[in-house]
């Protein structure tokens, strides 16, 4: 029976950084991936002349070479930076409400403040005060939490202790009265999947701060290039990978990991498993009930399966300007009521907020010359799709997409006339490729109760570790980071022996 130091299940962002970290530390690692390509969400697919980016809209935490952010530091450590070319986005985002309102914010604090003051003169004084709070809070969080200040206290970090768990909406209400301004400022809530009413200010502030300070990024070749670079470096460091080969069971003995059985029935011996599969699925489907303490599954009772997405990928036979697309990141909204928007994610009703990302605006090489592509996405839960009978699935998919296209055309009239290639992904598509219940793309819902502060991410099964959205939180930076941290945890545990 082949023996490995660690078996990594799943080559998503967390699985890749985890596997690479372990291989670089000289461990014998086997990486199992059900799909034929590495990346999980961080992937692309080709249709006609276009290679469509599946998931990455704005990469956070990169920062420049001179002022590296935490993610750049990790990728540097992992030795993949020289294989990749990153593209900085100048603007944070555009928020457009058809026939009503339109604003674009640069990824620069002072510019944002000025732009907003100009558009919301009645809130002139509140705007800089709010950014003082976002920055003050974030600086405290970085110093107290990320750098693990041993003298952390309420007195030393008053903003952090006051606001970390406060709902974002409560803070916005405290500072502003204009609902439109609140909507514009908090539009990134959709990246977290939780509306401002429930999104913790801690999660929100640090996200806004990070995007402004480290700028939003994309990369040449899309997120697949990152996944391929990580895998390549993993192979170069002696790692073994098997594609089209999922894990079927994790074997244990006396509460300790002893091995993994692949979907083809091959037994692999190992003392450590780093699971990049969903934490819930790992316990439910990769292990038998007698292998998992009851309390472990009971802990999931306080969580709920997070949102999936409905995405339309479009390749156009013209440049972005011809379609009226001037920004990379376009949030389209028809409401300031984010609670109602969030509620609609659980229905088949047309969405109130959607995001159209056109990568070619920041990177003209992204699509072939004379063309461009856009990903048009709205978050949506998987639940309503479970009620669609299989034989009506395709009709339901097109009907829903039609509603989305009507929304897009209110901002970019006539775009559908220039579509050369189109692919539509529903929550069921995400469920299929990710193997997550509900097609969840960010793991479970990220209410305050579900944030890192309240989660026990240590498994009672010795040698079992987790990486990915379910282990920490969703998004590229968190999942890439989680794999690295968990791998370090494994190395530490190995060193103790």
């Amino acid at each position: 029976m082949p023996e490995y130091d660690v078996v990594v299940i799943g080559a998503g962002n967390g699985g890749l950084t985890g596997a690479l970290t372990l291989a670089k530390a000289g461990r014998k690692v086997l990486l199992l991936e059900r799909h034929n390509v590495p990346g999980g969400c961080a992937t692309s697919f080709v249709r006609g002349r276009f290679e469509f980016e599946v998931a990455l809209h704005q990469l956070s935490g990169m920062g420049s070479a001179e002022r590296p952010g935490p993610l750049r530091a990790i990728l540097n450590d992992l030795g993949v930076m020289d294989k990749l070319e990153f593209v900085e986005m100048e603007n944070l985002y555009r928020v457009v409400w058809p026939d009503t309102f339109d604003i674009t914010l640069r990824a620069e604090r002072n510019a944002i403040v000025e732009t907003l003051q100009d558009r919301f003169p009645k809130e002139k004084d509140n705007i800089p005060r709010f950014f003082d709070l976002v920055y003050g809070f974030s600086m405290e969080m970085v110093q107290g939490l990320f750098f693990k200040d041993p003298n952390i206290s309420k007195e030393k970090y008053p903003l952090f202790f006051k606001y970390a768990f406060t709902p974002t909406r409560k803070v916005l209400d405290e500072y502003f009265s204009d609902p439109l301004l609140k909507a514009v400022l908090s539009i990134y809530w959709s990246y977290a999947g939780v509306p401002p009413t429930w999104l913790s200010f801690g999660d929100f502030a640090i996200m806004l701060f990070a995007y402004i300070e480290f700028k939003p990024y994309h990369l040449k070749g899309g997120s697949q290039a990152l996944s391929n670079a990580l895998l390549d470096e993993f192979i170069n460091n002696g790692g073994e990978v098997r594609f089209n080969c999922g894990a079927k069971k994790i074997t244990t003995s006396g509460g300790r990991v002893t091995g993994v059985v692949t979907e083809y029935g091959d037994m692999v011996q190992t003392g450590y498993v780093l699971s990049n599969a969903s934490m819930l699925q790992t316990y439910l489907d990769l292990m038998d009930p007698d292998q998992v303490p009851k309390e472990t599954l009971d802990a999931f009772r306080s969580t709920s399966i997070g949102p999936s997405a409905f995405s339309i990928y479009m390749g156009f036979d013209c440049e972005p300007e011809e379609l009226g697309i001037q920004e990379t990141t376009n949030f389209i909204t028809t409401t300031t009521d984010m609670d109602q928007t969030f509620a609609r994610w659980k229905t088949m009703e047309q969405q109130g907020v959607a995001l159209l990302t056109c990568y070619d605006v920041s990177d003209p090489d992204f699509s072939p010359p004379g063309t461009c592509q856009a990903a048009f996405v709205s978050l949506q839960y998987g639940d309503p799709w479970h009620l669609v009978p299989p034989h009506q699935y395709y009709d339901a998919k097109y009907r829903y997409a039609e509603g989305m296209m009507e929304l897009a055309e209110r901002v970019f009239p006539g775009i559908r006339g220039r579509v050369e290639e189109m692919e539509i992904a529903t929550p069921m598509t995400h469920l299929r490729y990710l193997g997550h219940l509900g097609g969840a793309i960010y793991g479970h819902d990220q209410y305050t109760k579900d944030t890192q502060y309240f989660m026990a991410n240590r498994s009672p099964v010795q040698g079992l570790y987790f990486a990915g959205a379910w282990a920490m939180q969703g998004g590229f930076q968190p999942t890439l980071t989680s794999g690295r941290s968990s791998a370090k945890g494994i190395l530490k545990s190995m060193a103790k022996k």
């Binding site: 034929n36 070749g221 670079a229 579509v419």
Partner: protein
């Protein structure tokens, strides 16, 4: 001291912990979801299908329809125009071929695949001559991107079929007519002789009963005294039949030569590329004729393929790597066998392969040395990594 020692000082902490306590008491018990994911997946996209031949129907000369019913479970829905990849074992060699489903997607009691004998058809020969009612096959779930998209394709559709390329269109025509969908279809159907026309009677009947469906049969080698349209599906012929071209969506499915010809004709008529959809058609008949094929490599040249950690085999340069591997008992995942779907994606460690234009590689896959063996031809000794 770390955060966990002072976390209770964060405002709202106690509310959240009591919220968690309540939820843990009354929240959903996820153990009920054990195994559920596969159940959901099997409704739409089972990994594999097990099919049984329930009926074999003679369609035209050298053409039969195999009616396939589920041997286990049930069949997932599909979009008219999609195919299944049928796995066959012939003389000890396991391989697969794609067949468009010709039956209507309005029912999923069975899938029909309609098979015509092709020149050196290793697999078609087997399906036509050896296969009996009751035989079982493994296949993929329905796949492929050759289907109608109501968001962008409009209501005026022109189908251009050549020979057995009629099969995906038959599914589409059956769907539109049966469901009374608001689409107009004109079918140009090119065949060598009137006897080669597949589904001729049904097509004619449907066109009589449904004013939104019309067709033109075009015979390239007509028998003496033949009265209908003859020759190729040319720009002149299409103009003559259709008149106005604006707003129409064109779909092509047929042999390689037809694509080359018809695409040029459509371009000449000013039809933009985005209004033309082309079904893939597998590896080229003669790869040495492809643009970019290195002239110094003859049609009968052989090279070696080393599989890292495994054996080394000798292969013909003019056969797709995937087929050569299968011939040697090495079956790698396959689906489209046309260079598109990337299921067979494999890392090339050493040497060179020729991949014809149209092989859909991701940019970064190219950068990191991946190839699609279903449409890659080794042109030097190579080494590959099978993962």
């Amino acid at each position: 001291m770390s955060l966990k020692d002072v976390i209770h000082d964060i405002e709202g902490y106690r509310d959240i912990t009591s919220e968690i306590a309540v939820l843990k008491k009354y929240g959903y018990d996820y153990s009920a979801q054990r195994g559920r994911l596969d159940v959901i997946l099997d409704m739409l996209h089972p990994k594999k299908l097990r099919l049984r031949v329930s009926e074999i129907i003679d369609e035209a000369q050298t053409t039969k329809t195999l009616r396939l019913v589920p041997a286990t479970g049930y069949l997932p829905p599909f979009q008219a125009g999609q195919y299944i990849s049928l796995v066959v074992e012939i003389g000890g060699v396991v391989t697969s071929r794609d067949y468009s489903i010709s039956s209507s997607p309005c029912q999923i009691a069975y899938y029909d695949v309609t098979v015509r004998r092709v020149g050196d058809g290793f697999v078609s020969e087997y399906l036509l001559e050896e296969t009996k009612v009751g035989d079982e096959f493994t296949s993929s779930s329905p796949a492929g991107n050759f289907y109608y998209n109501p968001l962008i394709h409009g209501r005026d559709l022109v189908f251009i079929a050549g020979g057995s390329g009629i099969t995906p269109f038959m599914s589409m025509i059956r769907e539109v007519t049966a469901r009374g969908l608001d689409r107009r279809i004109h079918l140009f159907y090119g065949s060598q002789s009137p006897d080669d026309v597949i589904f001729g009677q049904e097509i004619e009947d449907l066109s009589r009963r449904h004013p939104n469906f019309t067709w033109t049969s075009v015979i390239s080698v007509p028998p003496q005294g033949y009265q209908g349209r003859t020759g190729f599906i040319s720009a002149g012929l299409m103009k003559d039949v259709l008149g106005d071209f604006s707003g129409r969506m064109f779909y092509l499915c047929g042999p390689e030569a037809m694509y080359t010809f018809c695409q040029k004709e459509l371009a000449g008529l000013g039809v933009p590329g985005r209004r033309i959809r082309i079904e893939m058609y597998g590896p080229p008949k003669n790869v040495t004729a492809c643009q970019g094929w290195p002239a110094h490599i003859g049609a009968d040249a052989t090279v070696t393929v080393g599989i890292k950690g495994g054996k080394t085999i000798t292969v013909r340069t003019t056969e797709p790597l995937m087929n050569s591997l299968e011939r040697n008992g090495i079956v790698i995942p396959s689906l489209c066998r046309s260079g598109e779907c990337s299921l067979c994606r494999t890392k090339l460690l050493k040497g060179k392969v020729f991949q014809p234009e149209g092989v859909k590689l991701r940019k970064s896959d190219r950068q990191f040395g991946y190839i699609h063996p279903c449409m890659a031809y080794p042109i030097s000794d190579i080494e590959i990594l099978l993962t």
